[in-house]
């Protein structure tokens, strides 16, 4: 979408405008022609129907156009499209401004038209003419009755005259009544005799209606006009039947009224007819003018309405475009360029909009480039962080986890990436073994320690872990300054263990080397000394000699044992890694000690659901040997006591291990040495080498476990607690696979 106005839309608008103008011009021309035809039908009268039809169609087209526009506008208003309200207001304003004056003009025009045309006619004149006509009718009716009476009288008189004699007497009778024409006819209308003062060869014959009326027995008198437009009275009567043999006959008299009356009656009839015609045409004239005026009114209103729709749409188009443009920008399309409508204020506004979008687009591009750069940097940083062997955590001031790298997951054994944004406390609830780490982090950031470093020991699913943590506080400058805490930690369990082992091994090796070598000569020398001089000594000296040399030999033996133990501790034995049942190992070891002292009862409480342990069963057996040995030595032998051994599988909120508790009821361990009881040369026994528990700790740590000693709370004695990581089923499978591989 390039934002430009579509060319077809522009083309359509032009076509509509052109069609509208053409329709307007043609309708105007047809109205002019109709108006002209109204005054002079000779010119356009033949096209009157066509013009009317054209005008009707034109008006219909305008109505359809307006209806379509109105429907469109209603839809726009319904959908709250931009510019719809403005279009509505503009159209309403245009409609009111154009319609009201035209309607006022129409109203007054109609008034003037009606009053103007009506003013041509005077009611008094109309009444006078009606009265004149009535008067004329009364006057003529009197004369007609007179003529009828005369005719009837003559008819009676001539009733006795036969048809043959009738021509002889008829002239006399015509002269007597002053008729123009007197005719005797048979009942069927055949002439019998006629007398006339004119030169007409053929007398006037009464029409069939009159004859029918006479045949019915009713006489007739009426006013008729002659060929010269003069009024005459026609009177037709039945001649009384004189004898049975006489045929029924008719007598018709045509009496011309006097010239003066004739002229007056003609004038009255003419004037009345003219006035009647004019009066009738007045309404037609009004109707014609009103029709044309109404057509012009409708044409004007509809044209104005359509023009108002067109103008309003054109006026609103830039606003609509601006709204569309704004919407596009809101949707992120900054490439929108609007068509500049004109050089007016709207054009300036649209130009400014285009300029603005261009600048925003450039700014957006720059921002995008910066963002790409930042994202590249971020990706780089993430790649670095991901490949760091150190775990990196970022926590905000509220204790929410912001970032963590891959090494975090690997070291801590949980997927911290999915917990980004969560509170450390919540994560801690789900993963209990992380408590020491999170407590340390929380303590440091709550106390605003900018730089801190601490060694933290965890015991989780992967066993005992020693982490070296260091943290710092950074201020991120963004919309608002945020303080975050970056914690970097490394797992140094293996390192420390290695260092420790190496140190002890070196020391043990040196000790063995430095001590063991002179021990044999000392022992040999002592034996030689004993062998050589004991026989030569006095019995009193013999005992001393025997005692001293034996002491030297025994102590050397003891030292040799000690050196061997050190050698053993210093050596890193080849451990086999395989799965074994811990309970079985414990039971085997306990069997050895069960019969050692009858006063001590070993109580086993072994869990049935204990998962397998991965490691070296022989070295594990050594652990329990040492611990049980220590426990038996620590317990009193002169009274009956119980040694409790309990195993338990603990899997809860991130913890997954096997715990072994060996609880004795001996004298316990003093507080001074309980923390270092597992260090070499720390022992409560006078004859102990101080390496038994150290070896235990070493083996347990080799298995990823942890061991510590606690004094019993409610009784004497102590409890050795061992935690070893449990092997899950998948791990089990992996081990099997590994074993298989080894076998192959």
């Amino acid at each position: 979408m390039n934002g430009q106005l579509d060319k077809p839309e522009l083309g359509d608008r032009k076509v509509i405008l052109l069609l509208g103008i053409l329709l307007f011009v043609f309708m105007l021309a047809s109205l002019v022609m109709m108006s002209d035809a109204l005054q002079n039908p000779d010119r356009f009268g033949d096209y009157m129907s066509g013009l009317l039809l054209f005008n009707a169609l034109g008006l219909l087209s305008l109505v359809i156009l307006i209806a379509a526009n109105l429907k469109n506008l209603v839809n726009q208003l319904k959908h709250k499209l931009p510019g719809a309200r403005m279009t509505f207001k503009t159209v309403s304003m245009f409609a009111i401004l154009s319609t009201i004056p035209v309607l006022i003009l129409y109203y007054f025009s109609l008034n003037f038209l009606y009053s103007g045309i009506d003013s041509w006619f005077n009611p008094n004149v109309e009444q006078a003419l009606s009265d004149s006509l009535e008067l004329s009718k009364i006057s003529l009716n009197g004369r007609m009755r007179e003529v009828l009476q005369q005719t009837e009288q003559v008819a009676t008189e001539i009733s006795s005259i036969s048809d043959d004699m009738m021509p002889v007497y008829i002239d006399e009778f015509r002269d007597r009544i002053g008729a123009n024409e007197l005719t005797v006819l048979s009942r069927q209308g055949n002439f019998i005799a006629s007398s006339s003062n004119a030169n007409d060869l053929v007398p006037n014959r009464p029409n069939e209606t009159i004859l029918f009326q006479l045949q019915q027995g009713a006489n007739f008198v009426g006013l008729t006009s002659t060929a010269t437009s003069e009024f005459s009275i026609q009177s037709v009567v039945n001649i009384p039947v004189f004898s049975i043999n006489t045929e029924p006959r008719l007598l018709q008299a045509l009496v011309t009224i006097t010239e003066r009356i004739n002229t007056l009656a003609t004038n009255v009839q003419f004037a009345y007819g003219e006035y009647q015609e004019l009066s009738y045409l007045r309404e037609q004239l009004k109707l014609g003018f009103v029709s044309i005026l109404t057509l012009v009114l409708l044409f004007s209103i509809f044209s104005a309405l359509w023009a108002s729709f067109y103008s309003a749409t054109r006026l609103a188009a830039p606003i609509r475009n601006l709204a569309d443009g704004t919407k596009s920008i809101a949707e992120g399309d900054y490439s929108k360029q609007l068509p500049v409508p004109s050089n007016d204020e709207l054009g300036f506004l649209v130009s400014s909009f285009n300029e603005m979008t261009k600048k925003i687009s450039n700014a957006r591009d720059n921002a995008k480039n910066s963002q790409v750069e930042a994202e590249t940097q971020k990706a780089f940083l993430e790649a670095v962080l991901a490949r760091l062997s150190s775990g990196v955590l970022v926590v905000d001031n509220s204790g929410n986890l912001r970032t963590s790298n891959l090494s975090c997951n690997q070291i801590l054994g949980i997927d911290l990436a999915n917990m980004t944004g969560q509170q450390l406390n919540k994560i801690q609830d789900d993963f209990k073994h992380l408590e020491p780490l999170f407590n340390a982090i929380e303590y440091n950031y709550k106390n605003n320690l900018n730089e801190w470093r601490e060694q933290i020991t965890l015991f989780g699913t992967s066993g005992r872990q020693i982490l070296m943590c260091s943290g710092t506080t950074l201020s991120l400058i963004g919309i608002e300054t945020t303080r975050v805490h970056v914690i970097v930690f490394d797992e140094i369990t293996a390192l420390i263990q290695g260092q420790k082992d190496a140190a002890w091994s070196e020391m043990a090796r040196r000790l063995a080397h430095e001590i063991k070598n002179p021990l044999t000569p000392i022992q040999l020398a002592a034996e030689r000394l004993r062998l050589k001089y004991i026989k030569t000594m006095e019995p009193s000296q013999f005992e001393d000699m025997d005692k001293l040399t034996n002491t030297i030999i025994q102590q050397v033996e003891t030292m040799k044992d000690m050196v061997n133990t050190f050698s053993e501790y210093a050596q890193t034995p080849k451990t086999s890694q395989k799965l074994f049942e811990l309970n079985q190992i414990i039971e085997e070891v306990v069997d050895l000690y069960n019969t050692l002292d009858s006063n001590i009862t070993v109580k086993l409480d072994l869990a049935h659901n204990l998962p397998q342990i991965k490691g070296d069963p022989a070295r594990t057996r050594r652990v329990f040997n040492n611990l049980l040995n220590n426990a038996f030595e620590a317990m009193p032998h002169d009274m009956h006591t119980v040694l409790e051994i309990r195993t338990e599988y603990i899997a809860d909120r991130g913890l997954d291990f096997v715990e072994i508790r060996i609880k004795d009821y001996g004298s316990g361990v003093s507080k001074e040495i309980i923390d270092n009881i597992f260090e070499p040369y720390v022992s409560t026994k006078p004859k102990g080498s101080g390496l038994g528990l150290a070896i235990v700790k070493k083996i347990i740590e080799e298995h990823g476990g942890i061991v510590w000693l606690e004094n019993n709370l409610n009784s004497t004695g102590a409890c050795a607690i061992i935690r070893l990581p449990a092997v899950m089923q998948t791990d089990n499978e992996n081990v099997n696979t590994t074993s298989n591989r080894e076998l192959i």
Binding site: P41, S49, L53, A56, L140, T209, L223, S225, G273, Y280
Partner: protein
């Protein structure tokens, strides 16, 4: 598309109403019978035409408006290869008016000037519709070997009405009193 269909329907309805109305009122004049004969070197026709005036026309007549009816006869000679040739057009005009004083109807033959005053409108209409021996064309115009088609119709001449009445009469179907063309052939 819907708009076009609607417009088309409206236009069709308008035209239908307009034309159907016009057709209904065109039956106000009916040529019932026409016959022709040669006499005295002329072709004379006799015809019976039934005039039925609409209310508007009757109202105008009663208000003194003079009505003129034309009976038009057209004669064409058939031609084989091209259109028929028009021989002549004969027009017989009658004028009908109401006389307020006598309350009679006056029928005037506009060619002969003959006037007939009749008491009833029916009589006047009958007089108008009765054509006797109207000479249409001279016998010399006819070729005995050719075929001639005659066309006859009658109509109310609106153009002879008073000026203010003409526009309305031109567009009103009630004023369009025109008969169908009546045809006959002479061989």
């Amino acid at each position: 598309m819907r708009l076009i269909n609607k417009n088309f329907c409206l236009l069709s309805l308008f035209l239908y109403l307009f034309l159907s109305t016009a057709l209904v009122y065109a039956e106000g004049i009916t040529i019932e019978h026409v016959s022709g004969r040669f006499k005295d070197s002329f072709y004379l026709i006799e015809a019976n035409i039934k005039y039925e005036l609409s209310d508007n026309v009757l109202e105008a007549l009663s208000h003194g408006i003079t009505l003129r009816f034309d009976m038009i006869v057209e004669i064409e000679r058939e031609r084989k290869w091209i259109w028929d040739k028009k021989i002549t057009t004969a027009i017989l005009s009658y004028q009908l008016q109401h006389l307020p004083l006598s309350n009679n109807y006056l029928v005037t033959n506009m060619i002969t000037g003959e006037r007939k005053q009749l008491q009833e409108l029916n009589e006047a209409m009958q007089t108008l519709g009765t054509i006797n021996d109207f000479p249409v064309v001279s016998e010399t115009e006819f070729d005995p070997n050719r075929v001639y088609n005659f066309f006859m119709m009658s109509e109310l001449r609106i153009r002879t009405l008073p000026l203010p009445l003409q526009p309305l009469a031109l567009i009103s179907p009630k004023w369009k009193l025109t008969s169908q063309w009546y045809e006959w052939t002479i061989r």
